[in-house]
């Protein structure tokens, strides 16, 4: 009868220790959210993530069906399986959302990002940067005597490792689009 041990005025830290102790390992999931292409829809989706304390690792959005007036939002998020389920349910019940696909859970998928890298340097470093770019199948889309801009598409991991290699070779800036993803197969 621990209830009866509560003494008047004994403790003020009374509320909200409600976190489930069975928290599991966090997973990364890529979600494709098909929404009505209307003003404010993106804000509503992002607001859900910030309002309920969910993570966004990457987010891309563009209209994919002009006549059907639909946009595709690709979100890479992290959380325990319970949190991922909750994110999907919360997205799914939104009025302007047509469908939510968990590309990580639904089977194999293709995930690509496009990135631009500005690398400045001279001499050996410059040549090394160009050689590595070739290995990574990055294209040179701008060049001066002191710099290159490389364009590369690939998985986020590939872009991360290319960036790591470029850093000591004079990496100045990166622009990344975030992940676009589709399920494999028909």
């Amino acid at each position: 009868m621990s209830a009866l041990n509560i003494k008047k005025g004994a403790s003020s830290h009374s509320a909200y220790d409600l976190r489930d102790s069975h928290s599991e390992v966090e997973e990364s999931h890529t979600l494709a959210v098909i929404v009505e292409n209307e003003p404010g829809v993106l804000a509503r989706v992002i607001g859900l993530f910030s309002g309920r304390g969910y993570n966004i690792d990457s987010l891309t959005v563009a209209e994919v069906d002009h006549t059907g007036h639909r946009s595709r939002i690709t979100v890479v998020t992290r959380g325990t399986p319970a949190v991922i389920d909750q994110i999907e349910a919360q997205l799914g019940r939104m009025v302007p959302v047509f469908a939510v696909h968990d590309l990580t859970a639904e089977g194999p998928s293709v995930q690509r990002e496009l990135a631009l890298f500005k690398v400045a340097g001279k001499g050996e470093a410059r040549i090394e940067a160009l050689r590595l770019a070739e290995i990574f199948r990055a294209h040179v889309v701008d060049s001066t005597l002191e710099s290159f801009v490389f364009e590369m598409t690939g998985t986020s991991e590939k872009i991360d490792s290319f960036a790591d290699l470029m850093r000591p070779l004079g990496l100045k800036e990166i622009a990344r689009t975030g992940v676009a993803a589709l399920s494999r197969g028909a």
Binding site: L4, I6, S12, S14, A15, D20, A82
Partner: protein, 581 residues
């Protein structure tokens, strides 16, 4: 055939098409064209409030007591921002309301114009959906869609923001039946396999329990009827959340009272000890569950909810059933009957015996006084003297709200209007006016605390102007009672800012508004005073001076499990041994 009209006229026409009879609102620069149209017609009645928050709560009271959509109309900027509390309240309690806001003309949006606010931005997290209409041609259709969204699936508040130039411009009116069907069509039928699993569990459970919530009421009167049928037929005990009171009658023989933080001893222990919990239209709110890790540890849990995000949000359940309560209950009954109406009679008998023992604790007993009015006594007398009347009860938020839930009985749905999820002080008075406007002949009482009541007391002006004879039953303890209670029990009796000095003289206040004021201090005079209140044809402010330091029990301190309930501040006074299942 199309009809050309101004946007302002479209608004009124669309509301008429949707069967709206009443709009609660407050005019201002950005909605003047709409007010001009309202002036020139007689189908829709406009109730002029005194503050926009009042308009939203009135629309909520109207909606909650009728099952229809409540409508409010406010101006841009401050009109819209004042609506935010009411919108959030309606979102938390799933109340279908439509708020129309004026906006600065489209060409001024973004210029920090006079009374400009980013209304759709501000209200996005507190609406189910909102729209800024920039084209008059789309206005009527948007309003029709708004009605659909507010009521389909889990109901909730929606907002339509209408710039002033859109109200002035002309376009073709889209009638309701010509509007394109919304893709938003939440599923209402539950999965039949899951329903069958539930029925199998019902057939064998030793200690089953129905735990019902506001979803039953939102589903409509048929759902309450089906729930009653199911409970009577199975003989299972039933408890309900604050929001669900009245779906099953308080006078019903299987009713074991409200559960939760201030719920009944027997209801909470039944939750803790049951082996089959059937949640119908409730959402495992933290005021219900207490500490999650110790929540009903031995039960299989079934959850019927129309909102998939409610399922497994807080409590992992064994059988999720996504669907409308009415549809699901109908199927549950059908399957259960077709399988031979089986229940575990022996288990059930033992279970009821156990519940009877808990009931014998009489957790709602309190120390009576001959000199001061106990708030519980005031509510017992109010209950006794209004029993059988065509009665609607609203509340503010705090101790009085919990006492009202404990000591008043609700035999029908839609009779109990209270701010559950958000806990909005200042809800009750305007809500009671909304209810009274919907039910002009009924007895509408707002059980209030003086502190909550003062938050929106300006609405007495609305009650007077529109002859809404609402009875404001104020349990006046000159304290912020619930805050004071927590400070007593959990913060070392340091009563930080929980005492109201300089309260108004409520009788004189009533006179100032032109209605009737009654003050009562002696328990011996209470009945007579209540009768006087009931007999008066008009609004009454009833100042019931009650015991100042009464605490509301039972109480589960938040973060504690159900079986660690306090029945009084003096823990040793409680008989031990009866608690753990």
């Amino acid at each position: 055939m199309t009809r050309q009209m101004t946007g302002a006229k479209m608004v009124v026409q669309a509301l008429k098409d949707q069967g709206v009879e009443v709009v609660f609102g407050y005019p201002g620069g950005a909605v003047l064209p709409i007010y001009d149209e309202i002036f020139q017609q007689n189908d829709i009645r406009h109730i002029l409030v005194r503050h926009e928050q009042g308009a939203i709560h009135m629309a909520e009271g109207y909606a909650r007591s009728t099952g229809k959509v409540g409508v409010a109309l406010v101006t841009s900027g401050p009109g819209a921002t004042n609506a935010v509390t009411g919108l959030t309240d309606a979102l938390m309690d799933s109340i279908p309301i439509i708020v129309l806001t004026g906006q600065v003309p489209t060409f001024m949006i973004g210029t920090d114009g006079f009374q400009e606010a980013d209304t759709v931005g501000i209200t996005r997290p507190c609406t189910k959906m909102n729209w800024l209409v920039k084209d008059t041609a789309k206005l009527a259709e948007t309003i029709h869609t708004a009605f659909h969204v507010a009521t389909a699936g889990r109901p909730g508040p929606v907002l339509v923001d209408i710039p002033k130039d859109v109200q002035f411009a002309q376009s073709d009116y889209t009638p309701k039946e010509k509007s394109k069907t919304s893709h938003y069509q939440p599923r209402v039928k539950g999965d039949i396999d899951q329903i069958t699993r539930l029925v199998e569990m019902m057939e064998t459970a030793d200690r089953p329990l129905f735990y019902t919530g506001g979803g039953v009421i939102n589903s409509g009167r048929a759902a309450s009827q089906l729930l009653r049928e199911l409970v009577e037929a199975t003989g299972f005990p039933i408890t309900s959340t604050l929001m669900g009171l009245g779906a099953y009658p308080a006078s019903g023989k299987h009713w074991i009272g409200m559960l939760g933080m201030h719920g009944l001893y027997e209801a909470n222990l039944a939750m803790h000890g049951c082996d089959l919990m059937i949640n119908i239209g409730a959402r495992f709110d933290d005021r219900i569950t207490g500490r999650i890790s110790d929540f009903s540890p031995k039960s299989k849990k079934v959850h019927v909810d129309i909102d998939p995000s409610s399922v497994n949000k807080v409590i992992r359940v064994d059988v999720p059933i996504i669907g409308d309560v009415g549809h699901v209950l109908e199927d549950v009954l059908k399957v259960w009957k077709s399988r031979g109406r089986k229940v575990n009679k022996a288990g059930l008998e033992k279970w009821w015996k156990q519940i009877a023992e808990w009931q014998a604790v009489k957790c709602l007993s309190y120390d009576q006084s001959k000199t001061t009015i106990k708030p519980q006594y005031a509510l017992e007398r109010l209950e006794a003297l209004t029993k059988g009347m065509d009665r609607y009860i609203c509340t503010e938020v705090g101790q009085h709200q919990m006492w009202a839930a404990q000591y008043l009985g609700f035999d029908e749905p839609h009779r109990w209007m209270t701010s559950g999820g958000l806990g909005t002080m200042g809800y009750g008075l305007p809500a009671s006016i909304g209810v009274q406007i919907a039910h002009p002949e009924a007895l509408v009482i707002n059980v209030a605390g003086e502190a909550s009541w003062l938050m929106n007391m300006q609405e007495m002006g609305t009650a007077m102007q529109f002859r809404a004879p609402v009875k404001q039953f104020i349990l006046n303890n000159e304290r912020l009672g619930m805050v004071r209670q927590w400070q007593e029990l959990l913060h070392g009796e340091r009563y930080s800012s929980s005492w109201s000095e300089s309260l108004p003289d409520f009788v004189k206040l009533a006179e100032a508004f032109g209605c009737k004021g009654i003050q009562v201090t002696d328990p011996a005079d209470l009945d007579e005073a209540i009768r006087e209140m009931l007999a008066y044809d008009g609004p009454v402010i009833f100042d019931c001076r009650v015991e100042k330091h009464e605490n509301c029990f039972p109480m589960i301190p938040s973060g504690k499990p159900h079986n660690e309930m306090l029945l009084s501040a003096d823990a040793s006074a409680f008989k031990s041994g009866a608690v753990l299942v």
